[in-house]
């Protein structure tokens, strides 16, 4: 018997995944994780296609896998069903799943592109001809990308690293920090350095997650293998990789192996050596972190841990830091997902459902009258900010503010 089919038989059909699925409860177009995952899996046939199993409505938030009492990888099963050849994908999906290409192009013409993105006429046209919802937030393009502003931090191979005794760490910025929010990357580097670490930027490409979410597995695998190849020399020298984008880090930690099926010594090494920013500092330099003296940040804020961060299985390390900041009154969101799930909510045909998933979170933020939102994931920040009209920050921005690095 094919090993791959075994997880299906672990399913008790208890429906705990359906009970917790944020998408199934807001739309009847999604049959629910149990039906689309293990149940449909039972009926797979080598020659016949399954009838509509509605897997494209799954936002890949991963809640089903998290709540399953019997280790059925429900979300992973559904993610794999989305695999399709490039030619079957729409032009829109092929383009929005390549943030690196988009970012590289757009940063060159940031002064032209930004007003265009904000123009309601352009957005109406994008909606009509391209299927990008005019109500969904699109990021602002930075004039100078991180790989330009931190050019001197790039180190091509481990033997070019300075001979120093300090703990050394490679920062993986990902596309969003590189092209849309470079300040975040600069702050990450400054904080890591202030904690006594030697920080450098290893050579890197897009993690490939947007391609994977859009079913373009071949292209995603190419990027995954490229990252593995670029990072392995550093990993062999026992240098950890740290990132500020939980979705990119989850790709390294989990998706490359569990969804793209790249199960090699190198991919395992990458997974074992990858850390979320706050997970990393609390684990590797806890004493230095304990010595930080935080200034008051007088504010009332709602912290939303993104679904992708939940996939790390590390809890909410950012909260450990945020709770130490005097004056900061924190509320914690217990919603499984804000709805956007990367590129999902940006698509015209998914926007309503994505909005509905996040609606209660938006309402909670507004009812609590918070000053701002804190969330680790960029797409969550843009999405929640757009729908609540509240500013949204990465926890490390609040940390930097409290450390006096920014005002």
């Amino acid at each position: 018997m094919n090993q791959e089919f075994l997880p299906t038989d672990h399913c008790l059909k208890c429906n705990i995944c359906t009970a917790s699925c944020p998408v199934a409860s807001v739309t009847d177009r999604f049959l629910g994780p149990k039906a689309v995952g293990p149940q449909a899996h039972r009926f797979q046939h080598p020659h016949y296609e399954l009838p509509d199993v509605s897997e494209e409505w799954c936002s890949s938030c991963g809640t089903c896998t998290l709540v399953c009492p019997h280790d059925v990888p429900v979300a992973e099963m559904i993610a794999k069903m989305k695999e399709r050849p490039n030619r079957e994908a729409s032009w829109r999906d092929r383009i929005i799943s390549r943030p690196e290409m988009l970012g590289r192009l757009a940063t060159r013409f940031a002064s032209i592109v930004n007003p265009l993105i904000n123009s309601s006429r352009v957005r109406a046209a994008l909606e009509r001809y391209f299927g990008i919802s005019s109500k969904a937030p699109l990021p602002t393009i930075a004039r100078t990308s991180l790989n330009k502003s931190l050019r001197d931090y790039y180190v091509k191979s481990p033997n070019r690293l300075e001979e120093i005794s300090r703990l050394t760490v490679g920062y993986f910025h990902g596309c969003s920090t590189n092209f849309f929010e470079p300040m975040l990357g600069e702050l990450a580097v400054v904080i890591l350095e202030s904690l006594g670490l030697y920080v450098f930027l290893p050579p890197q490409v897009c993690c490939g997650l947007p391609l994977q979410s859009n079913g373009l597995f071949d292209a995603a695998r190419k990027l995954a293998n490229k990252n593995i190849k670029l990072l392995t020399p550093f990993l062999r020298e026992k240098i950890p990789i740290v990132g500020t984008s939980p979705s990119c880090m989850l790709a390294f930690k989990h998706d490359y192996r569990a969804i793209l099926g790249i199960d090699t010594e190198e991919s395992n090494l990458l997974a074992n050596s990858t850390y979320d920013f706050f997970e990393f500092i609390l684990q590797f330099v806890p004493e230095e972190v304990n010595r930080i003296s935080y200034r008051k940040v007088v504010a009332h804020a709602l912290y939303h841990p993104p679904c992708q961060l939940r996939g790390h299985g590390i809890g909410t390390p950012a909260l450990t830091i945020l709770r130490r900041i005097p004056g900061l009154q924190l509320e914690v969101s217990d919603f499984a997902c804000c709805g956007v799930a990367g590129t999902y909510g940006v698509k015209s045909e998914r926007y309503q459902v994505a909005y509905a998933v996040g609606e209660q979170l938006f309402q909670k933020a507004l009812a609590m009258n918070v000053d701002f939102i804190i969330s680790d994931s960029e797409t969550c920040r843009w999405w929640i900010s757009k729908h609540t009209k509240l500013p949204a920050y990465h926890p490390l921005e609040i940390m930097a503010r409290s450390m006096g690095i920014i005002t």
Binding site: A19, G313, I314, L319
Partner: protein, 392 residues
């Protein structure tokens, strides 16, 4: 280093974490998944035998209630009611009187505490009622419901089928779908328009649990709202009191061998990508029984405790764990970790295995929770005792 590390996010683990955090302990809660709350009926069963009331002195000596004591059960229930009250999701009930909650098939579920919306059905015995079913709702069987309710003494005058506004749904609807729709006030107005003429002359209406308002609700098969609501309240209360919650990673127990006294030092946390140490002063094991991953039944007949490999009694012949019929009392229910009055797991000689390890909930041996209907009561009482002992 955390003061208290709790393993398991079911009722006992969540409740223990809230109790400890309320007493200003630094609490970390680790769980591989969620517990079974979201597929439970959302009530607190303490002793559901309609024929006999709970009398601790009549229980066997090693029954968790007897070990935890009446005091722990009383304090636990008060604390539970307080938590639910503070979260604006109040429960109704007591330890002295049983509630009988109609289920989706019209049988009566005997419980001690139920959310107000479910407990409301108590007032209606002896008065004429109507039962509403909702067209398109999955696992909703009005004929069976009405027939069984009648034979259980309810005066069901009529049964009505209510339809939903809008176009035909794409699939059968779950109660979670309906609950979501009812959040929208415009939709509620539409429903009111549509249903009002159908409800004339009805004084009391029983309806599947989707509303969260004061009719009386009948819990549906999973996904069921009362269980989900209870779980959500407990998670957000725990977060509110500062519990550090880590979900999605499993725990492997670590033993401290540096000292003469046998102690645990915490766990190795196995995340999807790597593993690391989590140190703790005290550990409360709330991993549940066989269905929840706390106990593992091996093919050779042995039973293993999944985190610290604690000693567990098991019969020589594996078949002795199972009754011939699915509906009989199952002998495996009685197995688990034996504990003392401080909820410390014991070795086969009756001595605590580790002085700083405590346990709560379904992992504890000595009760047939299913046939006794004592599951949630044991969860709460033992969690109460475990936290008390751990913070002594």
């Amino acid at each position: 280093m955390t003061d208290i590390l709790i393993i398991g996010a079911g009722l006992s683990g969540l409740f223990a974490s809230i109790l400890a955090a309320k007493r200003n302990a630094d609490v970390t809660l680790v769980s591989a998944g969620h517990g079974g709350l979201s597929i439970s009926h959302g009530c607190i069963d303490v002793w559901s035998k309609a024929t006999s009331s709970l009398s601790l002195s009549r229980l066997k000596k090693n029954h968790p209630y007897r070990i935890a004591g009446k005091r722990a059960l009383n304090i636990a229930m008060e604390a539970f009611e307080d938590i639910m009250h503070d979260a604006s999701y109040p429960f109704s009930g007591s330890l002295s009187k049983q509630l009988f909650i109609p289920t989706a098939i019209g049988s009566l579920h005997c419980t001690a505490y139920a959310p107000i919306s479910l407990a409301h059905s108590q007032m209606t015995k002896g008065t004429p009622i109507a039962i509403a079913s909702i067209a398109g709702l999955r696992d909703c069987f009005p004929e069976m419901l009405v027939k069984n309710l009648r034979s259980n003494g309810y005066l069901v005058e009529r049964s009505i089928s209510l339809s939903l506004p809008g176009s035909e749904p794409y699939r059968d609807l779950y109660s979670t779908d309906l609950a979501y729709r009812f959040e929208d006030s415009a939709y509620r107005d539409q429903i009111a328009q549509l249903w009002k003429p159908r409800l004339s002359g009805i004084h009391c209406l029983g309806i599947p649990a989707i509303l969260g308002i004061e009719l009386f609700e009948i819990p549906t098969p999973p996904p069921s709202l009362p269980g989900l609501r209870l779980e959500q309240v407990l998670f957000s209360t725990a977060a509110h009191f500062g519990v550090n919650i880590i979900l999605g990673s499993s725990a492997i127990g670590r033993i401290d061998r540096s000292r003469k006294l046998k102690r645990v030092s915490g766990i190795t946390l196995q995340t999807p990508s790597n593993s690391r140490q989590l140190k703790a002063q005290k550990v409360i094991l709330a991993t549940g029984g066989f269905l929840h991953g706390g106990l593992i039944a091996h093919r050779d007949g042995s039973i293993q405790e999944s985190v610290f490999n604690l000693p567990i009694d098991y019969p020589e012949n594996r078949k002795a764990l199972l009754a011939p019929s699915l509906f009989d009392k199952q002998p495996y229910e009685m197995h688990g970790v034996r504990v003392n009055s401080r909820m410390q797991p014991l070795d086969l000689k009756g001595e605590p295995v580790y002085e700083n390890l405590f346990s709560a909930g379904g992992i504890i041996a000595g009760a047939d929770r299913q046939s006794e209907g004592s599951r949630q009561g044991i969860d709460l009482a033992t969690a109460q005792r475990a936290v008390e002992a751990a913070l002594e």
